[in-house]
């Protein structure tokens, strides 16, 4: 490197060194403060607590979980609960979003108006307020167990939505829920917390997805729709066979970002007590072990991992979509 080039780059080198020193000093100060504080407060460090007995119950768990299970199991159960609500809300909001997007472009004035009103109203009300509204205002109105609403074989009351489940042991049979005293036994229960969270997340996200899909649909050239009409495809078939595949190609990257937002927004479960990552790991585990640093690190890592997986899945889907169209990603 010549002297002139070095002299020109010198300020840059100095600046970068200063930046590194400042950031390093801040990190070092934070760590030493933390160590000093942890010593005075008598906090233990490390992830050894993961194998200790958790000692609390989780209202909804997709894996067998008892108070005797270790913290690790609690974290797995909480992660599965988060994934459950994300998948549920993701699928439902995609369906509703598609309907609303086509509705906003429909020829009928009333259908168009209703779809627009739906999108404009629910995207402009804070998500937390919507979730709290469904939880504390609507679902509390459900009757107590004794007066459960019977919908086919399912029961709906203020303890949740009880669906019949398949029973394998001892013989294959349908396990119908039935009222037993003040409780319901049998079947699969969908907790009111899960219902409220799914409702709120679904409705809120469907409005954003509707806008994304609408932009995708509008990006399909008019000639494509006219060509579909020319070869005799009816409205619905043209929509599904011609418009939607091309619209999805445009909308998928943006929709992927929205699914990531949805996964992050599912952390609002903590506000109504649905046992997800935020509530169990960031709340219960952090306070019981008083190892807030480790617990919050786990929370951050888990959400980052979920976000990354969504990005990967959407990226793969996008590449397949482009490959099928005979284009290179």
């Amino acid at each position: 490197m010549s002297r002139a080039v070095f002299m020109e780059r010198l300020p840059g080198y100095i600046g970068q060194t200063v930046m590194l020193v400042v950031v390093g000093w801040l990190v070092w100060r934070a760590v030493s403060n933390f160590q000093a504080n942890a010593r005075t407060l008598g906090l233990s460090a490390g992830f050894g607590f993961l194998h200790a007995q958790a000692g609390f119950e989780i209202a909804q768990s997709l894996i067998p979980f008892t108070p005797a299970s270790p913290y690790l199991d609690a974290i797995v159960a909480a992660t599965l609960n988060t994934l459950l609500v994300v998948v549920l809300a993701g699928v439902l909001s995609t369906l509703i979003g598609l309907c609303a997007a086509f509705g906003r472009l429909a020829p009928g004035g009333l259908v168009r108006g209703a779809s627009s009103a739906y999108v404009e109203v629910f995207r402009n009300i804070p998500l937390l307020l919507q979730i709290l509204f469904w939880y504390a205002s609507v679902l509390v109105l459900l009757p107590p167990v004794g007066d459960s609403i019977q919908i086919g074989p399912a029961l709906l009351n203020n303890r949740g939505f009880f669906l019949p489940g398949l029973q394998i042991d001892p013989t294959l049979a349908l396990n119908r829920p039935h009222v037993e005293g003040f409780d319901v036994s049998g079947g699969i229960v969908i907790l009111p917390e899960l219902m409220a969270l799914t409702l709120g997340l679904t409705i809120y996200n469907s409005t954003f997805l509707a806008e994304i899909f609408r932009a995708g649909i509008l990006s399909v050239p008019r000639g494509q729709i006219e060509a579909a009409a020319t070869v005799g495809l009816s409205g619905a078939r043209a929509a599904f066979l011609i418009v939607l595949p091309q619209a999805l190609r445009v909308a998928l990257p943006a929709a992927g970002g929205q699914y990531q937002t949805l996964a992050k927004a599912s952390s609002l479960a903590a506000a109504i007590g649905y046992p997800d990552i935020m509530q169990i790991v960031g709340g219960t585990v952090a306070s019981q072990t008083s190892q807030a640093l480790e617990a919050m690190a786990l929370v951050v890592l888990l959400y980052a991992a979920i976000n990354l997986s969504i990005a990967l899945i959407v990226g793969l889907a996008n590449r397949r979509l482009l490959a099928r169209e005979g284009r290179q990603a």
Partner: protein, 366 residues
């Protein structure tokens, strides 16, 4: 015998389009263009009629308007607007001392005047004054609200409700935008360290839920501060909020910076402008103008996100409503809380919808 694939006779000519269709026809075409769409319209109409009537019954016909405790609202047939009316003070200003109320009122009035000026000014005018206003206003608010000197000091813990929501929104906006711009520029910097640090910060923040950032600010940050130095929950929450939204703003600015063509920068260099002058005179004016609608959308997101403060125990508008419904006077039916929620929903809806219309107007004006 031959089979004809081509029509042998002409179809009758379509009647000439009428310039102005009668209203009944236009209405029929809008509502019932095709039989399935017509059926859907009818169904929607029925649902709207039922829901609308039920809501009207709840919100107006059976509503309770007056009273100062939950006894004024028996049953859950009608809304409890008495709850909304009776607790206006904690909703607007929190626990702000009653004899100092002129200070929040001044802030509200100043903001209202400022906003009217922003919306009504011609779009050709320079953006600089608006941006300057957005930075000066929160500084002024803090000076007036906290006090000091001739004014008695009011701790931030006594702020609440709409006042707190407004202050947090404006402070976030005033700090997150400059910081976001710096982060976006840092990601394009020639210096590898700056690029790496800014990229890591932005991507890290974007991978994590806001609630987790707020939890960290509420529970973890005190552990990292030196002993003896304690910072209140409110400033910690505001800083967390600002940092999180700075990452969001950085992505918006990055888009704006990318929209400025490379040729613009090269042209700037060619006429002998320094790097900084090119940035200030050529790149930034174009980049910032391009992203103004997106910045308004960030503001909408910030307003909606302020509700999360109530989860970590900062008394924002939503927190004030929940505390109100738990106060001894108003404890009782869930209907009281519902009335508060509905009122809040309408308030947020009006503000955010208005802002989104404004953002759309900016987009089409450009």
């Amino acid at each position: 015998m031959t089979t004809h694939f081509v029509r042998q006779t002409l179809i009758d000519a379509r009647s000439a389009p009428v310039a102005a269709l009668p209203i009944a026809t236009r209405w029929r075409r809008a509502m019932f263009p095709t039989p399935p769409m017509g059926a859907l319209s009818l169904l929607l109409l029925a649902v709207f009629a039922v829901l609308g009537w039920r809501f009207l019954e709840w919100a107006v016909v059976h509503a309770h308007w007056l009273g100062d405790s939950s006894e004024a609202c028996p049953g859950d047939a009608g809304a409890c607007w008495a709850f909304v009316a009776a607790r206006w003070k904690p909703w607007l200003v929190g626990n702000y001392p009653s004899d100092q109320l002129w200070r929040p009122w001044t802030c509200f009035a100043a903001f209202a005047l400022f906003w009217i000026w922003v919306v009504r000014r011609s779009h050709a005018a320079s953006l600089q004054r608006v941006l300057l206003g957005f930075i000066l206003l929160p500084v002024g608010f803090f000076l007036v609200l906290i006090g000091g000197g001739p004014l008695p000091v009011v701790a931030a813990t006594r702020w609440g409700g709409l006042l707190l929501t407004l202050v947090v929104t404006l402070t976030t906006f005033a700090t997150a935008l400059p910081l976001g711009l710096c982060l976006a520029l840092g990601r394009r910097s020639r210096l590898a360290v700056a690029r790496w640090l800014c990229g890591a910060f932005v991507e890290g923040m974007r991978a994590v839920p806001l609630l987790a950032v707020l939890f960290i600010a509420a529970t973890l940050v005190p552990l990292f501060l030196p002993r003896g130095l304690s910072v209140d929950l409110f400033p910690r929450a505001v800083v967390a909020f600002a940092l999180f939204n700075a990452a969001m703003a950085a992505e918006v600015f990055r888009g704006g910076l990318q929209a400025v063509g490379r040729g613009q920068i090269e042209a700037g260099t060619t006429v002998g402008l320094s790097d900084f002058a090119t940035l200030r005179l050529i790149v930034l004016p174009q980049a910032v103008t391009a992203v103004v609608p997106a910045l308004v959308n960030i503001m909408i997101a910030v307003i909606k996100e302020t509700t999360l403060l109530s989860v970590i125990g900062v008394n924002d508008l939503l927190g004030a409503v929940e505390i109100g419904a738990k106060s001894p006077d108003w404890i009782g039916e869930s209907n009281i809380l519902t009335s508060g929620y509905v009122f809040l929903a309408v308030a947020y809806l009006m503000v955010c919808y208005g802002l989104s219309r404004y953002s759309r107007r900016l987009e089409t004006q450009r």
